[in-house]
Amino acid sequence: MTAALEVRDLVKRYAGGFEALKGVSLDIGAGEFFGLLGPNGAGKSTMIHCITGLARPTSGTVKVFGNDAVRGYRRAREAVALAPQEINLDIFLTLEETLDLHGGYFGMSRADRRERTAELLEAFSLTEKRHERTRNLSGGMKRRLTLARALMHRPRLLILDEPTAGVDIELRLELWRYIEKINREGTSIMLTTHYLEEAEQLCDRIAFINHGQIAAQGTIGELTSGYGVSTLEDAYLELVGRQELSRSHIQDAVI
């Protein structure tokens, strides 16, 4: 079965010479829920941008369901979607127009766009606001619309870049339920998050990235045993070299 994502020896060097990715290789299986964890500046966003065409790889290959992200960008981009960390909605558009135009960019027919727009607005409880401009929405609504926009063209691989950063608890749980549902329905998911609890709850496998390199990857059990610790948080602290912050140390100190 073709992998949802196949990244090989990916290098990204920016114009100033900074190397954000230093030969990353990664596979995400079809239907898998995959977590990519690492500190700020580790290379997560650069990797996501190389996958979605927002950045041009310096060398190496990225394939989305077997389609090269550079040479076969049309098919690769049809298969992938990104819900970015920073809300980047078009302030001139209404909610309905946001989804409709996104569908148009992906070549969806008018009837299909209309049907899918109604379905997603309903699923994310945004139907009542459909004629409002995006700039008038609350933060939580903007976050939901960003996810709905990513899902509009029915991607087979959905990339969620910190989808629950700054949202309230209800919305976080609501988003988790929705993401789990679409994963069960067959969409492969790549999630980046700083909430380790989120990764534990949702991900089948996790990769740690730091300084532009994959430091470790596997199931939570494989990661913890690899680092010789008992929790994902401790494994992460090993990755970033901040073991002194481990709760077990703090508890020991208190006792």
Binding site: Y73, G104, Y105
Partner: protein
């Protein structure tokens, strides 16, 4: 062709243009109303006020002489302003990532952004023309020269607007080109006067201004006033527009300034 029969690629192209038209129509008081008012203020000042002093230029009523240049100026400035602002705004908010991460080809993206300003310029120019025709019975002497010339001028400034928007990092960069490059070139290109009225060396220097040839073509198209070598001017305009499109396409194909 009905929407149902359009290919994915055609739907994509139409959607990219729809987004741009949607943007300026949402703020039409500023993008259509403002420029129309501005053009009619020029007509009032130069036609009604100056026109009483300058009765004619080379046998043409002054106001009739001026209006073709004003129509061209409206198309040029609106195309440029629209596209440079639209692209820069989308870059600022990163909303442009929605188009950039879609399967749209570099050429489709370039055409999508270009046609937005082109259509806005077309609307302002056509409305100006219609009102001017009713008020002054403006002639159209050579439509076969006028329509392609105006379209090329619109296209040239639309592409230039996209390029400036793509390269700009702040709104000041856009204003810089508009205020210090475009407006002087257009004003000194002979919108309000014929080059023959200028003393030397300005008369010769004007001939190095590309906008002078654009105005010459458009004025000939409207009122039949012949100045420069118009055949050569048209070929020059077509070549320069094609070269600018070629450069813009290479920028989009390589993703410079747009993709990191």
């Amino acid at each position: 062709m009905s929407a149902g029969r359009m290919s994915s690629s055609q739907i994509r192209m139409v959607s990219l243009v729809r987004r741009e038209v949607n943007r300026f129509m949402k703020i039409k008081r500023q993008t259509i109303g403002g420029p129309l008012l501005e053009t009619f203020l020029y007509i009032s000042v130069f036609g009604a006020a100056l026109g009483t002093r300058i009765h004619s230029i080379d046998g043409y009523r002054y106001i009739v002489f001026v209006i073709p240049g004003l129509i061209m100026m409206a198309w040029a400035l609106n195309s440029f302003a629209n596209n440079s602002s639209s692209v820069l705004q989308q870059k600022f908010t990163r909303a442009i990532d929605d188009q950039l991460s879609s399967p749209a080809s570099p050429a489709q993206l370039l055409w999508g952004f270009t046609l937005g300003g082109f259509i806005r310029g077309l609307i302002v120019s056509v409305l100006t023309f219609l009102v001017a025709s009713v008020l002054l019975s403006l002639p159209v002497a050579h439509p076969l020269v006028l329509v392609p010339s105006l379209a090329l001028v619109g296209l040239f400034f639309s592409i230039a607007g996209v390029l400036v928007g793509v390269r700009a990092e702040q709104f000041d960069d856009v204003a810089l080109y508009q205020t210090f490059v475009l407006q002087p070139l257009i004003f000194l290109g002979g919108v309000f006067y014929g080059a023959s009225l200028l003393p030397q060396p300005w008369q010769t220097l004007t001939q190095f201004n590309p906008v002078y040839y654009m105005i010459a073509l458009v004025r000939y198209g409207f009122i039949g006033y012949r100045t420069a070598n118009l055949g050569l001017a048209f070929i020059f305009l077509a070549l320069v527009t094609a070269a600018l499109f070629g450069y813009a396409y290479s920028v989009f194909r390589r993703g410079r300034y747009l993709r990191s």
